[in-house]
Symmetry: C2
Subunit: 332 residues, 2 copies
Amino acid sequence: MQRYKTQIEKELKSFFSEKKKESKDFSDEIYEAIKSLEDFTMRGGKRIRALLMIVGYKSAGGKKLQEMIKASIAAELVHSFLLIHDDIIDDDDLRRNGPTIHKSFQKRYGKKGSSDLAMITGDICLCYGLEPIMDSRFMADNKLKAINKLGKIIKHTCYGEFIDVTSVKNNVSVDDIQKIHEYKTAKYTISGPLQVGGMLAGANNKLLQDFEKYGLYLGLAFQLKDDILGIFGDEERVGKPIGSDIVEGKKTMLVLKANSKYVNSLLGKKMTNRQLEKAREIIRNSGSLDYSEKLISDLVIKAKNALHDSKMPRNEKEFLKFLADYVNTRKL
Amino acid sequence: MQRYKTQIEKELKSFFSEKKKESKDFSDEIYEAIKSLEDFTMRGGKRIRALLMIVGYKSAGGKKLQEMIKASIAAELVHSFLLIHDDIIDDDDLRRNGPTIHKSFQKRYGKKGSSDLAMITGDICLCYGLEPIMDSRFMADNKLKAINKLGKIIKHTCYGEFIDVTSVKNNVSVDDIQKIHEYKTAKYTISGPLQVGGMLAGANNKLLQDFEKYGLYLGLAFQLKDDILGIFGDEERVGKPIGSDIVEGKKTMLVLKANSKYVNSLLGKKMTNRQLEKAREIIRNSGSLDYSEKLISDLVIKAKNALHDSKMPRNEKEFLKFLADYVNTRKL
């Protein structure tokens, strides 16, 4: 899979050179913004979404691999768009071991200007995300289905983001959290890319439904794991400040199941290392960490079972099963 | 054309009922956001962009009028998206004689929360804007071209918005202003809708190029007229505070050509009625108002000439010529 990652990044590089070239004589400001966007996107590590688009395509019998690798960067561009807007909302300085987009604009344009310009840069990046599929040489009907799906994925992710932001204010239940994870993460990280890729090869409905189930379970597991790493992980590897969910007042499953007055009292405020250490202890001792870890294991099993009778090449099925196990064991 | 306006609004209403129905059991917060978005969109007056999509379609010989009216609301939804993000940037309270989206969220979610949620609502509205074309029953190839064009229009409008925001900081020339108008207004208000509509009927390149020229000239005229109304117009009719361009520090053609220390000193600050009155006087006496008005007249003539040898039905050509004259004489 390392080979694909290299090729995906080559395609991203060439996409951004094209955009920079187009804008060079047109506007210095936009040229600089595209450069920031390129830096931000190229720092993104695993390329899991682009990879899943390719796997979805191959699973459905697609054979134009080079064409598909080109189109797959759509998923990474849409990912950048979502991260940029998410970082504005959370007012995060750090992402992928570097400055967030709005942070990178701050010196030049001040606080308000930089968040405005980051919002527009995100919008531009969303539009960029449609182009690799538009420009690909697949059948018109398949491209239309794929773009349609991509639009719906983005919409649903925004729905999830909306519920997530308002959940800070409202009381949230376990159901709410699952809904946020399903909409904000599962669709656009796992099932969405698989389905969009599958559609470009004309996948049948059964396979698309299997992807939906697999992606739902694995996406939930992925987000729960993310929440654990966000509190118990290593800042360097995770690429953003540890404990930031608590600082932002997010009620993750870990916080909800810890059901601790102390941890709840930390939500939405700055935290000392000592307070973070104590929160970790409570989350561990209350059984909340075990609960999330058990849930992740169950979800990973369900995800693998969802593919049990899917008709797809052996290699792709093995990869998706491997990925499910990886989500469980990953350290970043 | 009044008949089309009524039908466009009926289609918008039914689009939003559908979205509200889908979200009702899913999330109260999103239901409320869609309601705000509906109010905001339904207050928008002239439906000029949807109308131009229909005119573009008919100009290219399209016959499925009902289908086209349904698809045309795409332009109004994209328009709402752009306004929502623009209002966040300008921190405007008022739009279309009612609250802006972020303002309407403010009571419930505070200042930061409301601008975050308005940003997401704008993103959702962009995705909504793709759906009416996706869901239409035109030929796949034509739909693909139209969606591709729509994505490029949005991207270019965002480029224009980016240059506009950074221009407050930089020194701008007449060329810069024209570039901003071309990208921020002309493409998505005039040529874009005409071309997207035309593409849905399989328009040939000559017609699409004529639309491009017509739209460029008329869009520039439209924006210059907008700038004049924004300083000399009537608040009730214009639907937003008079003088807000100056308060926001925007260097419009009127301000640039007035070349007045006094007017420049007002840029970016709150203004009293007396100061606005004096700024108007200077803009009038310096000849800057005359300059913009002469430019508008010239552009309107160029726009009409651009259609001179276009092959399209007589009615549509007459309408586009009438519209060009209307831009010159409009009061709101």
